[in-house]
Amino acid sequence: MSTAADTAAPSPLLEIRDLRVKVGGQEVLRGISLAVRAGEMHAIMGPNGSGKSTLAHVLAGRPDYEIVSGSASFEGRDLFALAPEQRARAGLFLGFQYPVEIPGVNNAYLLKAAVNAARRERGLAELDAFEFLSVVRAKIKLMQIDESFLSRGVNEGFSGGEKKRNEILQMLVLEPKLALLDETDSGLDIDALKVVANGINSLRAAERAIVLVTHYQRMLDYVVPDYVHVLARGRIARSGDRTLALELERRGYDWISEQAAA
């Protein structure tokens, strides 16, 4: 893995060093190191319980996760010194595997509050309702979402597929620098998967990085990563390019888990 000292490569957007994390007293991440540069797309794969969702959540600042040792920096800043909302405003986005319902809170209202929180942070004027709507409308079309969606309660009564589309819609509107997408592909039928993949691809840009957390290779047929990392027992057991994902599909996770245990 390259380091920040390389003259050719820019310094990483996200740099994780030897990160160890406990959840409920159990060490779930046992020394993760990873560098993600702007413009890159990484896929983090692994069997259930390997720690891949924990990694995404600890970076976003989920409470009750104990950081035992190690560090993570985002654009050179100590990520763990920032509150979750500060990380978000700085451009870190987490797409949830199970987006929570917030009854009675208008979907558009929450999204507008999110957009304006980030704009205030950057010293930009807040968007009014009209400006906001014009930004959202274009993205809604891309995600093949009906406009009535905006006036419903946040994730309230949404189907699994609608919740995932909503996550990607939020990401498209917020235009984060770093998007962590936790199992965004799970529970999607093939049509919905294509729509979601399309949304993710539309956000790929030189100044932005995307980290996909996924159990299955299936998504990677539509969203092609530059790097694939396989997590097993809280460590990165293997890194490679997308051919690694194909190999996993063929051989399963057992051989890597066994190697990691050895």
Partner: protein, 480 residues
């Protein structure tokens, strides 16, 4: 963000807790016949009213304070309360705003009550009751053109005694309950509204109540009569200064809707709730009841209760007229050591009467919140329908929510539905909002407002915003 972090969110204090330094005309504490006679005399009341007060006093002396509610508090010493306090002023009271003590007007300015000409822009007619006396009623002329009577109760006593004699006590009789009976004996002022047949009241009517003097009880009485085919929307707001001792507020509100009439009564109650340790605050024992006396009449109660140390109130509807409709929409918040036992009674008497109850209770800190509701369908109420939805939201580990639904159905054709839920603001919901860049305090307000949305949308627009802000203030530092 952990639970502990959330708990340290700032505690902003009560914003209406100032005292106005005004010379007051206050009777010594204690209650006997001479006090009642004095009040009646000061108000130059006709004989029927004095007699009614005295009957109430005698009845009250035979009653005992009720203790069935889910509330705990130090006993109230009724002999330590002064039953009448009025700002001293020219004998006949203010003729116009110009005659009102500028200190009083400044008080209402601080409270944000639009008493002056700017009120015209807001389109709200305000009757302000300071301690026990009504200080100003705005927009009288415009209302008079429409034929609407909106004036202080004591003025109605002088100008419209026949209406009062006909309707006073016709929904809440002086024998009704301990607090209503006490009120009947000693009430000092309040508001009176009469909307003539077929008239749609041209503006929102509003009363603003404020308790200022120490050791006084506030006993106001509101009577609203909507004659056949009329419509009126009425809003009541309340504040009090911060004091370490508890103060008693025992009001009575009576609503009467005749054939095809509609009354919409909204309350934003922000009495001083006591401090974080539960010292001081208003004891709010209020009787509110409306009667749909005619066919197709409709009465809606909407309340946002954020204040008071103790809240004991059950705005109710007697659905006598055929096809009449009763509605109750409530948000009750208790934080710190506040306690609320609130709900409604829907009494179905007429055929095809309908009622809807939506109650949202929010408990934080050591707050205790009880919903108590009665749905009663009498044998005459064929085809009656009720829908009740009762939701509780808990914050923190020490708060409590309790639901006491009473249902009595004596007509087999009636339909009664009851839904109830209890939930917490989950860490999931909070983290979701934080991850979208929304600060914890804003996130909590957003989640709570969402929870209350079905009630807020029943409030007149300008007050919905105020209610939302008030809720945010009263819940500061409340999440866990």
């Amino acid at each position: 963000m952990s639970t502990a972090d959330i708990n340290v969110l700032v505690n902003r204090s009560y914003r209406h807790g100032f005292v106005t330094d005004i010379e007051a005309d206050t009777v010594p504490p204690g209650l006997d016949e001479s006090v009642v006679r004095l009040i009646s005399h000061k108000k130059r009341e006709p004989q029927f009213l004095l007699d009614w007060r005295l009957r109430a006093l005698r009845h009250w002396q035979s009653m005992r304070e009720p203790h069935w509610a889910h509330l705990r508090y130090q006993p109230i010493d009724y002999d330590a309360i002064s039953y009448y306090s009025a700002p001293k002023q020219a004998k006949d009271g203010p003729k116009s705003l110009a005659d009102v003590d500028p200190k009083l007007l400044a008080t209402y300015d601080k409270l944000g009550v639009p008493l002056h000409e700017r009120a015209r822009l807001a389109g709200v007619a305000v009757d302000a009751v300071f301690d026990s006396v009504s200080v100003a009623t705005t927009f009288k002329e415009r209302l008079a053109t429409a034929g609407v009577i909106f004036c202080p109760f004591s003025e109605a006593v002088q100008k419209h005694p026949a209406l009062l004699e006909r309707y006073l006590g016709s929904v809440v009789p002086y024998t009704d309950n301990f607090y209503a009976t006490l009120n009947s004996a000693v009430f000092t002022d309040g508001s009176f509204v009469y909307v003539p047949p077929g008239v749609r009241c041209p503006m929102e009517l509003s009363t603003y109540f404020r308790i200022n003097a120490a050791n006084t009880g506030q006993f106001e009485r509101t009577l609203i009569v909507a004659d056949a085919g009329s419509y009126v929307s009425y809003l009541e707001g309340c504040t009090a200064p911060m004091r370490d001792e508890n103060q008693l507020h025992a009001a009575v509100v009576e609503l009467i809707a005749l054939d095809d009439a509609q009354i919409k009564y909204s309350t934003v109650q922000n009495w001083y709730p006591g401090d974080e340790q539960g010292r001081g605050g208003i004891y709010n024992f209020v009787t509110k009841r409306g009667e749909c006396r005619g066919r197709n009449a409709r009465i809606s109660w909407t309340q946002v209760e954020t204040g008071s140390a103790i809240t004991w109130k059950y705005p109710s509807c007697i659905l006598r007229g055929e096809n009449s409709i009763g509605e109750f929409y409530s948000v009750a918040t208790t934080n710190h050591y506040q306690q609320a036992d609130t709900g409604t009674k829907m009494i179905h008497i007429g055929a095809n009467t309908r009622s809807t109850i939506v109650s949202k209770g929010i408990s934080a800190g050591h707050g205790q919140n009880a919903y108590r509701g009665l749905v009663k369908i009498l044998p005459s109420a064929s085809g009656a329908r009720n829908f009740t939805q009762c939701d509780s939201l808990l914050m923190g580990k020490h708060s409590g929510a309790h639901t006491f639904p009473y249902i009595e159905v004596r007509n087999p054709s009636a339909t009664v539905e009851h839904e109830a839920s209890t939930s917490r603001i989950s860490e999931e919901q909070l983290f979701y909002c934080l991850q979208r860049g929304i600060g914890a305090e804003d996130a909590v307000n957003m989640i709570v407002s969402g929870f209350c949305r079905t009630v807020f949308k029943e409030l007149p627009m300008e007050f919905a915003v105020e209610a939302q802000n008030l809720l945010a203030v009263s819940l500061e530092g409340a999440v866990g």
